[in-house]
Amino acid sequence: MFATGFLVLAACLLAQAIVGDEVWNQSAWRRYFFPGFGFVMGLAMWGVAVLAAGSTIHLLAHCAWAQVMMLAGGAHLGLARGKLQHRFWRLTMPLALGVSGLAFLAHEEHGWLYSRSALVHHICGWTLVVGALFPLGGAFRPSSNFFRLGFAATFVVLAIALFALRDSGPVLGNVPSTARGAASR
């Protein structure tokens, strides 16, 4: 479900880069869609933090993730509304992506090839860390299509990686059940 949301988001960012801000912002709901989505995702992440926290590092990672997503979503809602003017508020987006990526990497205790889930966590983590460079560049050159398309491509990669996540699919010789069995031997 998250992957589907990211895919729609990527399509929206791509379309916004193609048509430009002037046309995209003609509709109010389109103007608030991306920051609103980020803010709601940040709110939902608190639920994930509470319900899916298997360890302290999981809890810390998800709580940090929720805070930066809400910060970025709220700041960009303020920018879209015109309440916030300073361009440095745009830096909340690379902050959110960077912290989200580090959260992915920090709470994955296994190596890249341990299981499909571990592989997806590493791919998502590094995609977000590298993808944070695009909104960082975009904060200083907001009209650059290179940074806009890179930002959209980041969400395309995230969607593909999340769609590939499957708990029981055989991949790279490891599935969680066999991996646990191997670890216990």
């Binding site: 589907t4 399509a11 791509l14 193609i18 046309v23 650059s144």
Partner: protein, 89 residues
Amino acid sequence: MRPSLTRHRLDAPGSRRTAAVAAIGPLIMLAGVLWAITQPDRLPLLDPDAHGFWSLAVEPPLLVLLAGIFFHRFIASGLIHDLCGSEVG
């Protein structure tokens, strides 16, 4: 950085921008259909007795297909309308 990469929108005529926006949804739908054909095991609906509720409720290739339909129907159509209106105006 090259000037062509620093404009406010992609440097293409209006009709090409319209075509590009109109193509995003169908391309996503096509990706979903191709995924369903190449990996039918990702469609638990084809073998419903072997799967639980969530596997049946969340069918990844169908979600990709639905994402494409949603984008094309609810986002791209309005965007193309606004794009045509801004060019006429």
